[in-house]
Symmetry: C2
């Protein structure tokens, strides 16, 4: 309708966009990536197929944006819980206590990985990314690597403060914290808990040999 004002249109678009994200995430969690179609996403979201094609060129695009949006929502919720402005949570806290800051963020990661809204769709996308290397590469580039770089930033600040050895390759070092959780979550090799996250942080920071 030509008489609609721009803010109204934006609100409507925003509602459709959110409905499409929700539909895409729930579908991929239920039937897997290969069987998730633009048609099914449109039907569940209650929009026309053309609405989706106007904004995105493929289901991979829809899903990647849906996950980015889910991550932003989680970060904003965390910021609100911590009494900060939305957007401020896109960094690992730096209280000057590296061990405490890493435990904080890994415990939050455990909570997110155990959140049922997140678990099924991310598992489906991760599984597809393992066999579909083009999708996997985009998943890493757009979703995973940006979040890993937050660890690089926090570890670099610690390195500058003398709390991490100067010769440590931080891009490798962060994997000692992140990868154990990722493998337990992806492959089910063990349970995830706050206590487990704490142990991983302690071992990675101080090593396994006697101090």
């Amino acid at each position: 309708m030509a008489t609609k004002t721009a803010p109204d249109q934006n609100r409507r678009s925003e509602r459709s966009r959110r409905a499409i994200y929700d539909a895409a995430l729930s579908l991929v969690g239920e039937v897997g990536y290969p069987k998730t179609t633009i048609e099914a996403i449109a039907a569940r979201a209650g929009v026309g197929k053309q609405t989706i094609y106007r904004w995105w060129s493929s289901k991979a695009e829809v899903l990647l944006e849906a996950f980015l949006d889910l991550g932003e929502q989680a970060a904003d919720a965390a910021a609100e819980a911590a009494g900060k402005e939305p957007g401020q949570a896109y960094a690992i806290p730096d209280t000057g206590d590296l061990e405490a800051d890493l435990k904080y963020v890994l415990r939050a990661t455990v909570d997110e990985l155990l959140d049922p809204r997140y678990a099924a769709p991310s598992r489906a996308l991760a599984a597809e990314g393992i066999v579909n290397r083009e999708l996997g590469a985009r998943f890493v580039e757009q979703l995973l690597e940006p979040s890993l770089q937050l660890y690089v930033q926090r570890l670099r600040a610690a390195q500058d403060a003398g709390d991490v050895r100067a010769d440590v390759d931080l891009r490798i070092g962060l994997e000692l914290f992140v990868s154990p959780l990722a493998q337990r979550w992806l492959q089910g090799t063990g349970p995830l808990s706050h206590d487990y996250a704490d142990r991983v942080v302690e071992y990675a920071l101080y090593g396994l040999i006697p101090r």
Copy 2:
């Protein structure tokens, strides 16, 4: 044929069994787990479907045994290369130098993960295990956990020798070595190399903080 002697039958069975393993592994790498069927495995192996059903009850059984066999072959080849009897390689070497022993085994793991015979089928099985939790649990129980227990054994010997702190939970500690390689391999978050494996061992043993 009733006139066949038992050794002849065993040789024939062994040849069929190996042909079925090869067919199952190559098919799952090519078309993925869901599209790999007993019929297709039988056709590629040049045996009747009934031959497969005589020995195994499902394609999951065939694949798990095919992977176990592949692992045994790799271990026997490693034992031969090291001048040992087949079977002796089912332990991480214990030269008394924990760092050297872990670097040795993680470098060998990198080589195995980069071996094309191994890569496509294991990736397909890992991807399926992420979304098919029953298969994933069997994959962990029969393939993954037994190999992780080899790390527990080696780390326990190191703990007894005073080379690993007495309060370290070894089942968690081993993940600092193993999970970073697993995540790079599964999710393509970075390249695998001997140099990378060495860094992971050093960081995990000595930690990231100044010594």
